[in-house]
Amino acid sequence: MNSVVCISHVPDTESRIKVGADGRRIDETGLKFIISPYDEYALEEAIRQKEKSGGDVTVLTFGPERAAQALRECLARGATKALHVKGESGEADALGIAKVLAAAIKTVPHDVVFFGKQGVGTDNGLVGPMVAEVLGYPQVNVVTHLEVGDGKLTATREIEGAEEVIEAQLPAVITAQKGLNEPRYASLKGIMAAKKIAIDAKSVADLGLSDSDIFNQRVVFVSLELPPEKSGGRKIDGSDPAAAAQEILKYIREEAKAL
């Protein structure tokens, strides 16, 4: 079984976010970038499938030069091939990104295409299902358990307070939720082996796509703002639990009007 895992390279979740000079995007200066956390579950699942039944795990990203680091890390964990479509993905909307990824996926053998359920940070959660639509594949979103069989897969999908078990024909798109597995770290051996694998680089034009379709402003960034700093409210001593409980109840009734 062959897999493609689509990776997004995002600011570390510990990062303090600053607004860039254009007032529309974040200031990337000094930010540490990581593999988007949900993509780690996607990658791990693909590597486990390969270990079970063979085949390749190709990691794919669309992004600037720095995104190659994320691919290198994925190779060190056990991916077997890497494809980097170079370009300013931050200037494209989700559908533009999806069209690039879908075109790239077509150049690589695959049965399952994995994504994280959303890129942490932008938190759109759009690209996976959009790629599924562009390729005409079924999708299962927010997956917490996966079995891949002959020509089909069975995936458990998390919905509000319940789970659905979905059967889908291959090839299919899966988006991974936390809990799907426990991602591994890169081993020293893996890091050394990864150095021998060349990352295949392509441009948007190499994939036969025009910039006007990818960067065509279906969604236009108007502004980016930081929320007002909360000053904190009242703080009271809770050493008398009964008095503290009455104080909270009063707040819940009178301010939150929740009881």
Binding site: T13, E14, S15, R16, I26, P37, Y38, A94, L95, V120, G121, D123, N124, G125, L126, M130, A132, E133, Y137, P138, Q139, N141, T156, E160, A162, E164, V165, I166, E167, A168, K178, Q217, R218, V219, F221, V222, S223, L224, E225, L226, P227, K230, S231, G232, K235, I236, D237, G238, S239, P241, A244, A245, I248, L249, Y251, I252, R253, A256, A258, L259
Partner: protein, 317 residues
């Protein structure tokens, strides 16, 4: 025609609250963008309810189990007929599954998980929290239709007092490559954090997993959902679907009660847009107090049971 089309999810013969919220903001958008508010659902019995929320028409798709491909086909047909300016979904599991799929089919732009929507200069303007609420991005969706998913609890659900929506049918036939085999039901009576009005959350201060009983008791008494910090989920004390924060759910309930949660930046990002925040922590310097409207410096093992009792008494009256 122009207008606004809203995908409505129905449970037990009623339109789900998150969808009623989407209908309500959809009605306001239709007033400024022009055209009618139209609902799409899989149950014609909600025509009265859809009408009360301002929908003039209800497109009914004959689908029993949720199907991405089936609903995408139904939405495509409805969009081809109605040519709406705006297509809205509640930002639920199914809304988030469908919006990008139909967006790609229509070559349309999508704004996810928005908490403000307006019609500006003939375009849909949306505000959405990014970096888990550490920042807010304002975007214009320039396509027709412009698509958005609405964050649950961000928009009030308001009846507009209209008569029953006029029912028509849309075809939902699709060559489905995926099918639902089984739905595993939730534990009885458990509310989910995504849509809850009240969330009671526990953190590492609970000391061990079994002490989540303190959180559950209060949540049950007050009628809220159980939330959790990442540390408690990673420790295996509670299931991930309770996790609030950057790798869990970003929530904005009316009331958020945090007990034994110090307030890591990722957690604060996930809950600080809650309308009312109460924090209980024994460390007076805990960062959670910076976002709390009411902070109690004290022992959660004493304050929570006392509060649970007070709530029970208050409810009994």
């Amino acid at each position: 025609m122009a207008g606004v089309l809203v995908f409505c999810e129905v449970k037990d013969g009623k339109i789900k609250k998150a969808s009623r919220e989407a209908l309500s903001i959809g009605r306001k958008l239709a007033e400024s963008a022009g055209g009618e508010l139209v609902a799409l659902a899989n149950d014609k019995s909600v025509a009265d309810e859809a009408g009360r929320y301002g929908a003039k028409k209800l497109c009914v798709a004959n689908i029993s189990d949720y199907s991405t491909e089936g609903y995408t086909a139904a939405l495509k047909q409805a969009c081809d007929e109605l040519k709406p300016s705006v297509l809205l979904f509640a930002g639920t599991s199914n809304g988030r599954d469908l919006a990008p799929r139909i967006g790609a089919r229509l070559d349309a732009g999508v704004a996810s998980d928005v908490d403000q929507l307006s019609w500006v200069d003939g375009k849909l303007r949306a505000r959405r929290p990014v970096y888990s609420g550490k920042a807010f991005a304002t975007v214009d969706v320039t396509t027709t239709p412009a698509i958005a998913t609405t964050r649950p609890n961000a928009f009030p659900a308001e009846e507009a007092g209209g008569g029953a929506a006029e029912v028509s049918e849309v075809s939902a036939s699709a060559d489905a490559k995926a099918k639902l085999l089984e739905t595993k039901a939730p534990e009885a009576g458990e509310l989910t954090i995504a849509e809850a009005d009240i969330i009671v959350s526990g953190g590492r201060g609970l000391k061990e997993g079994s002490n989540f009983s303190y959180i559950r008791d209060l949540a049950h008494a007050i009628g809220g959902a159980v939330g959790a910090s990442r540390a408690t989920v990673d420790a295996g004390w509670i299931d991930h679907q309770h996790q609030v924060g950057q790798t869990g759910r970003v929530v904005s309930p009316n009331l958020y009660i945090a007990a034994g949660i110090s307030g890591a930046i990722q957690h604060l990002a996930g809950m600080s847009s809650s309308k009312h925040i109460v924090a209980i922590n024994k460390d007076p310097e805990a960062p959670i107090f910076r976002v709390a409207d009411l902070g109690i410096v004290g022992d959660l093992f004493q304050v929570l049971p006392a509060l649970t009792e007070e709530v029970k008494k208050a409810k009994a009256h």
